[in-house]
């Protein structure tokens, strides 16, 4: 029997209809008290994850994702159902929400000073995110930075950290007490696991922060910490490339991102040591001024 659940994820909320125990269990591990049976809450989006029907469901079952009546993706193999839902939530927000300039980027803050970490997959961004979130920083977001138009203010959209391939073992060693989801094997990003950020990040789920830096991280196994100051044009173009709704928000997105870039420090870093990166960020960006 499928049931309706509610996930309260400031500033958006979702209802999820599913009968799949693995989805329910993973949601409960990752979202804790923010995940519950739906009662009178009014959700922004109605999602559902179902097992596909027909004979195929006995031989090689698949999971299907729906956003209300829409099925935006082709089905995935059954064991990826939870990861599928996470991506579906990203898709839903990216496709519908245009009250913020949304950057494909992690955001972490110390106090109310925040740093953006936009980076392509494979750059070690999520491992860095997980490390910082467990070492005195608070996570505002792992994948989607919501910037209020024409300000430097970031609205948290706290979600699990999505770790891939080798980072899975590293994270499990680094954070033995972490709340991990099951591993989704062989996705388009390789093997994927979701890690719930520490409780302090969840508790500050509604507290905005002000951007003071944009850092493009690159993990290189054989490279000691190297830091390059990025010029404003380069940094701006990289932000544009990572903006989900730049083409929709047009002038608003342009003015917001130029304003951000002009008022924050911008770096590209190469590293093989997370602690060194954390020290650099704190000394040079957070404690700067």
């Amino acid at each position: 029997m499928s049931d309706n659940y509610f996930i309260d994820l400031h500033p958006f909320s979702f209802s999820v209809n599913t009968a799949l125990p693995q989805v329910i269990q993973n949601l409960s591990t990752i979202y804790g008290s923010r995940f519950r049976k739906l009662s009178t809450e009014v959700a922004d989006y109605e999602l559902s994850v179902q097992k596909s029907s027909g004979i195929r469901s006995f031989i090689k079952p698949q999971a299907r994702f729906f956003c209300d009546q829409q099925e935006p993706f082709k089905p995935l193999s059954f064991q990826k159902a939870y990861a599928f839902l996470e991506w579906g939530m990203n898709w839903t927000v990216a496709g519908n929400e245009v009250q913020h300039v949304i950057i494909h980027s992690a955001v972490l803050a110390k106090g109310n000073k925040a740093i953006l970490f936009p980076a392509p997959p494979g750059s070690g961004k999520s491992t860095l995110t997980a490390y910082l979130a467990h070492n005195g920083w608070r996570l505002l977001s792992d994948e989607m930075a919501l910037i209020i138009p024409n300000t430097q203010t970031v609205v948290p959209f706290v979600r699990p950290i999505c770790l891939k391939n080798q980072s899975i073992d590293i994270a499990k060693t680094l954070f033995p007490d972490g709340k991990f989801s099951d591993i989704a094997k062989d996705t388009h990003k390789g093997d994927v696991i979701h890690l719930s950020p520490p409780e302090s990040s969840w508790e500050n789920q509604t507290n905005t922060a002000e951007l003071v830096g944009v850092v493009f991280p690159n993990y290189r196994a054989n490279q000691d910490l190297q830091i390059y100051q990025l010029d404003k044009t380069q940094a701006f173009m990289q932000l544009v490339d990572n903006a989900f709704n730049y083409s929709v928000l047009r002038e608003t997105a342009f003015s917001t991102l130029t304003n951000v870039i002009e008022n924050v420090q911008t770096f590209e870093i190469f590293h093989n040591d997370l602690a060194q990166v954390a020290a650099f960020l704190e000394q040079e960006i957070i404690d700067f001024e």
């Binding site: 009014v42 004979i55 195929r56 698949q62 082709k74 519908n96």
Partner: protein, 369 residues
């Protein structure tokens, strides 16, 4: 707590103040239904004009504001694509007319204000179609993979060529050489119909409002599908309401008679009046009553159900039956019986297999969310 009915959704459009009694849950249902019908931005504008937008719960307001931005962006995108098509095809066809949604948008009239649609429809003279297809192919508009049956259907029987999709931007263009399928035997003299056009300030060719309205109502009532029926009915309502003058009606009625689509005009006026309380002058009603069909009770049964907002939350009783009747009626209108049977066997075979083995039995797994 009451579930929103299809009539409540219509009422919200006709008399926006009726929504002020909605509970937050009912607002949520309204948003779901309207998003599904691509009408969020349309209702947003209705609520703003009625001066009640500020009284809508904040959480719901955000969904309408999002839709406003997306609709504005959609408009800009369409104008961009239309300019691209106009420039690239400048020397090809005798005429290049933007139809349906794109036509509404380019007209600058209220009917195009909040309209969201998935493809851009153009009409060109039949002789130029090959040249247009080749030219579009050259600049990145390609036909998607089709089954053999679909390819044949388009090339032999349809009034358009298979949809072309831009490889980079993902925009879809439907190139038409008639507004009604050739196989129906009801197709009209496209070159003659194409004289009912105006050129917009930006130099785009679109149909005159009378011809635009005729095309819109043919598309709705001479069709086997009404999935977006309510939205199409709102288009007709807006076109009628914003052009409600003698010259418009004279042109529209003349055009409907010439092209033999009087019945469809009658139905359009009947259901906009019934469902959206559209004002149609009495003289017009009298004039078109000659087109009232003998089986009006049956036609009422199917359209009074299927032209209302259609979402699982608010489906009226016997909706599926009515929808099926539209499917049958539409197919019968469009195809002679022997071709219809062949078409249904080809299409039906696939659905039978899907219903036994699962909807995605033919779908290759593609890990690309």
């Amino acid at each position: 707590m009451n579930k929103l009915s299809a009539d409540d959704v219509c009422q919200a459009f006709i008399a926006p103040k009726s929504t002020l009694a909605f509970t937050p849950k009912q607002w949520q249902q309204l948003v779901l239904i309207l998003r599904h019908q691509q009408l969020l931005a349309c209702y947003s504008s209705t609520f703003k004009q009625a001066g009640i937008f500020e009284q809508i719960p904040k959480q719901t307001q955000r969904h309408f504001l999002n839709a406003d931005v997306l609709a504005q962006n959609h408009k800009k995108q369409v104008v961009f694509e239309a300019a691209e098509l106009k420039r690239e095809l400048a020397d090809k066809p005798q005429y290049l007319i933007f139809l349906k949604g794109a036509g509404y948008t380019l007209s600058g009239a209220p009917v195009g204000d909040t309209r969201i649609y998935n493809d851009i429809d153009i009409l060109a003279d039949k002789k130029s179609i090959d040249a247009i297809e080749k030219r579009l192919c050259l600049i990145g508009w390609l036909s998607e993979e089709l089954t053999e049956h679909d390819e044949k259907y388009y090339r032999k029987w349809a009034h358009e060529i298979p949809p072309l999709r831009h490889g980079k931007r993902g925009t879809i263009v439907d190139v038409h050489h008639n507004i009604v399928p050739i196989i129906s035997g009801r197709h009209l003299d496209a070159d003659k119909f194409a004289t009912n056009t105006v050129t917009t300030e930006d130099g785009f060719q679109i149909l005159s409002f009378a011809a635009m309205t005729l095309h819109s109502l043919i598309h709705l009532f001479f069709n086997e599908e009404v999935k977006k029926g309510y939205r199409d009915l709102i288009d007709l309502h807006t076109l009628i309401t914003t052009n409600n003058n003698e010259a418009f009606w004279l042109d529209l009625i003349t055009l409907a008679k010439e092209t033999d689509f009087g019945l469809e005009l009658f139905l359009a006026c009947r259901y906009t009046q019934k469902i959206l309380k559209t004002e149609v002058p009495e003289s017009v009603q009298k004039e078109i009553s000659q087109f009232c069909p003998w089986n009006i009770a049956f036609v009422d049964f199917i359209y009074e159900k299927t032209l209302k907002p259609n979402h699982p939350l608010c489906k009226p009783k016997f909706f599926a039956l009515a929808e099926f009747a539209v499917l049958i009626r539409g197919h019968f209108q469009k195809m002679p019986l022997h071709i219809l049977i062949y078409h249904l066997l080809c299409k039906g075979g696939v659905s039978v297999i899907q219903s036994i083995f699962g909807k995605h039995v033919f779908t290759k797994e593609l890990d690309q969310p």
